[in-house]
Symmetry: C2
């Protein structure tokens, strides 16, 4: 009975109900009052449609209406705490608006980003959220040509509105926390704070370096170039650089600002080779948050970017119908370590 017949269409329902396809369409998509279809007719059609398990072919509807009901988001990777919580928020907000979210990752590959944006546009997405793009303006041009509203998250574009985390503020908070908490060591080199990880070509990292530099200079009078090691995001590279730094200093520095979770993961690979007491005179901070990161052998101050607020602001912006290339800032939060401070730091909690 319920064999593998095809999905019913409005034409099937029309035949069964004795009404015309256009009447069926109106009855089923909610426009029947405006189209002056009698209530009895509409109800009858709806009943039959339910019995038949009808659901609209959204490709056909999208084709006709030139809107698909899809919202696209592109991000570098899924398996990253920051981006995956953005996905989560993105999807929740999309559902609230009755839209279907399409999330695609592009592995930070410029070609892949362009291809993906083109694909999503070919599916007629109604709007597009872009995060972690390597070349925002190239993507904007494509979207503008196709008349697709789009917004950048966490990385500003010149040709479209952007919602970004306040990287300067976050890095300033974290830097200040590190500087104020870290021990005063006799060794002038070990006694300083170091910044490791990230790429200064990257917008976010550049702002963070800037804030680190400013805060260190403000608190300690000056800063040396070798205190900033922007060695990229790859864990392996961070492992090497942290090791090299510690070898050079003869131990962990008094303060360490790790930029990004991936760099942090790399640093950890080296840290696990150290004895626990090595961390007794070192204060570590990490830009970006991972709940497990807060539970390590040693305390770690973390900055949590408010991904839900980033997404919410972006949706609000679309809802308002504006398309100016505004820049909206969202403040990140400084999360205290959950690990108890030990040794000489016990009193600092």
């Amino acid at each position: 009975m319920t064999g593998s017949r095809q999905k019913p269409t409005i034409y099937d329902i029309a035949k069964l109900s004795g009404a015309s396809p256009s009447t069926v369409s109106a009855a089923l998509n909610g426009t029947w009052k405006a189209r002056r279809i009698g209530e009895k007719t509409a109800k009858k059609i709806q009943k039959i449609a339910t019995q038949q398990g009808y659901s609209a072919n959204l490709q056909a509807r999208g084709l006709r209406k030139a809107r698909s009901g899809l919202v696209g988001m592109i991000l570098p990777v899924h398996d990253n705490r920051f981006f995956s919580s953005m996905s989560q928020s993105f999807e929740a907000h999309a559902r609230d608006r009755g839209l279907c979210p399409v999330i695609a990752s592009t592995l930070r590959d410029p070609q892949e980003e362009i291809r993906t944006v083109e694909t999503l546009i070919s599916y007629a997405v109604d709007s597009l959220f872009i995060t972690g793009a390597t070349n925002p303006d190239a993507l904007s041009e494509i979207c503008i040509a196709a008349n697709v509203p789009h917004i950048y998250i966490d990385l500003p574009g010149k040709l479209a509105p952007s919602v970004v985390s306040d990287n300067h503020l976050g890095a300033e908070l974290l830097s200040r926390k590190i500087l104020q908490t870290m021990p005063k060591l006799d060794d002038p080199l070990r006694g300083r704070a170091y910044f490791i990880g990230g790429d200064t070509d990257d917008y976010a990292s550049a702002r963070r370096v800037e804030a680190f530099r400013k805060t260190v200079t403000h608190e300690s009078g000056d800063i040396s170039g070798d205190q900033i090691i922007a060695c990229g995001y790859a864990p392996g590279q961070a492992t090497r650089e942290v090791k090299a730094l510690c070898d050079r200093l003869g131990g962990l520095p008094a303060g360490l600002f790790v930029n990004s979770l991936t760099a942090f993961e790399g640093a950890l690979s080296y840290f696990v080779t150290l004895p626990p007491q090595a961390f007794d005179d070192c204060v570590i901070g990490c830009y970006d948050y991972d709940p497990f990161g807060a539970f390590l052998q040693f305390p770690v101050h973390m900055v949590r970017q408010n991904s839900d607020k980033l997404i919410a602001r972006a949706y609000e912006y679309f809802d308002a119908g504006t398309t100016k290339a505004d820049l909206i800032m969202v403040e990140p939060d400084l999360i205290p370590p959950r690990t108890i401070y030990k040794g000489r730091f016990a009193e600092l909690g």
Copy 2:
């Protein structure tokens, strides 16, 4: 010049090139040789299309061909290491096949799952990957009625093929590791291994409990009901239960099998209140893997489910064109701790 005009269609290209829309279509979708379009004509059309920035309207194509080029995947949540790495694999494999991945999360809500499957079917997804469904068979019925091939990942369905992680094997490996590594304590209660977290209604957890029970019985002769505390996946619940257990035992047990990362996160909230030496006579294992989890204050054995292999097997199954309700098993890996064992376990590495 490049104002906000609409995207060009094959009709626009047809006018510009002097050819008919059908010829343009053939020239642009690669079927021109089979349709006996002259090479010169095809090349000319392609050139014009490129100049005009043409790209096909995939909704129209999908409508006509009754295939959309979309593959859907539904999962409980994005912001979870296991599921987000599945997303990553799912997407990579989809791209390899020239398909567009649509990933939707359903928050383990049965109603939401059904709605989502229906939505994806309305967008005419060519196939569907389902993971973490609460009621697989209900979803299968919908897919079967709509003639959509689908496959379950990590949770078997009766009406469709499934690729599942070998939970029994993984839990057996982890249980055995814990039992063989844990200290022999005088206290008979503390000296045993405990299982905490998860829900026995859940397929995966049930298999894991079964393996834990079997292994403990095999190694120590018997097992008591209070050694298994399936208190769900919520972190808060795990925090309370672990605390209650430790209060009852007067300390951490010799062995603890934590089922799922979320339960582990909950347990950690309690662990951080303990002094470091509390872990000296306790061996901890966690089913599921998180790189940071491997770097904690104390060693943790973790089971990593091979998400990429799960997805790869599922695609292979579709590629083969089979649709029998087979059950394919994928072996998980036991990951040793990266933290160095301290105190009396130093020699166990």
